[in-house]
Symmetry: C2
């Protein structure tokens, strides 16, 4: 199943005037009217990466997130067995409110359903982890162009050689996203993203990719390559794919994540995450 760019079709499905209403969009996703990327939907609102684990692994995973908060900023953790996430939206039902899920068994992808109600269990705990969509919106609002957005591509992501701090079975490299920026925009981007510690915060690196173990920017490990022009610096942020890589490496008997790009749309506004 392919996941294509959402925005133009989304407007026709949702109506341009309602595409900014998080609860409305979430309701349509719940009813199965949208099974693709959430990029551009309800774009003033915080979207989140989702990880659903049995309670027996949840404590280790929460410790992993705490120890690697820049890559794994936790926006909410559910009660075991509860599909609600009341701090993120009064009506959220995590079994139905993502456009598409990924079901994993022993580290292997086994299914990509649009509803996980049949798989729900009393011991499952949901983690919602901040995502770079929030700070990308702040960058664009400040007039900083993002090439992958302009070109309708997914952001380029790489496994760095920066190691995360392990907790229980969870470990592995920090995955970073890269955005090419001119120096003045890179400086401004440090300022802007520093205001958003809950969605990865300031960059972790800029300049020479080899210093963080990236051999070739033209071959990202996830997402799509974008060109870096001669007058640009590659700027690297900790990425929410990091916990997914740690989960894959842990080869858990069972877990569920969102499908790439098909995020949970919350009622929080991106600006509510700004720290000053």
């Amino acid at each position: 199943m392919s996941i294509s760019t959402a925005s133009p079709a989304a407007v026709s499905v949702f109506g341009a005037e309602r595409v900014r209403d998080a609860a409305h969009v979430r309701g349509l996703i719940r009813q199965g009217h949208w099974t693709s990327h959430t990029s551009g939907l309800a774009h003033d609102h915080v979207q989140g990466n989702v990880v659903i684990l049995p309670e027996v692994q949840a404590n280790d995973f929460l410790r992993y997130c705490q120890r690697n908060a820049k890559a794994c900023p936790v926006l909410a953790v559910s009660e075991p067995g509860q599909a609600a996430l009341p701090t993120l939206g009064a009506d959220i039902d995590i079994c139905t409110d993502l456009p598409r899920y990924r079901v994993w068994q022993h580290g292997e992808l086994v299914d990509e359903p649009t509803d996980i109600s049949p798989l729900w269990r009393d011991d499952l705990v949901t983690f919602v982890i901040g995502c770079s969509f929030s700070f990308e919106q702040a960058l664009m609002d400040a007039g900083i162009g993002l090439r992958h957005v302009q070109q309708g591509r997914n952001v380029a992501m790489y496994r760095s050689h920066i190691q995360t701090v392990a907790a229980g079975p969870f470990a592995g490299p920090m995955v970073v996203s890269m955005r090419p920026l001119k120096a003045a925009d890179a400086i401004r981007a440090v300022q802007i993203t520093s205001r958003f510690p809950g969605v990865h915060g300031a960059p972790v690196h800029m300049g020479d990719p080899a210093q963080i173990g990236i051999a070739d920017l033209a071959h990202p490990d996830y997402g799509d390559a974008v060109e870096v022009l001669p007058d640009e610096l590659p700027v690297f942020w900790a990425c929410g794919v990091t916990p997914q890589a740690a989960i894959a490496q842990a080869r858990l008997p069972f877990c569920i994540t969102h499908a790439p790009g098909a995020m949970l749309i919350t009622d929080l506004l991106n600006q509510q995450l700004a720290s000053f």
Copy 2:
């Protein structure tokens, strides 16, 4: 006359326990006991670049500073003919309180006295302009090493091809200071110096020097060259030498500045300039 690094000798002149007291240090300078660099003296306190001009040029110069605030952040402007700067220190007498001055006629350096009382006129206006010592202290307090400080050198400064916005006779290139930093420190330095808009604020450039018209980092236009290691980025800040370059270019019939590195020590604390 050579101006050498102040700190070790300063301690023996002033006594280690009093070297942090701005008014005490200023009093000793006033009495002629110190005629050199102020680097490291009263280091919790704001130090300032000084420009003293006839009132007939002062309005143009103030407009020049306003239009180029990143390079020329004005901390105080005196009343014409008044040697006092009460917002910077109750007892300041600008005629005596710098270790050494430079007297300029038609753009030429004609004298470097330690007291300008004989030259004082009723039409002279004093400008005190923020200096990078303030943010350097904040960087070092955050554990970021500065190579020129470690090596006891003056910071490396370059005429960039970034043009300032002219006002009256004042114009010319932005002079930038350069500090080599590893990427993580460069990112942290953007965060820290952004808090100090009154002393040049965030960097204006990082990475490729050629993009701002600097052909060779090994040959600074002012100050001392420092090595940039392979894993470092050169990081560039707007520099308080910019207004001096504009004044030299204007070839004013008469003006006075501080001698390089021999700054006005004020009663303000560096932390009072932090914007958040």
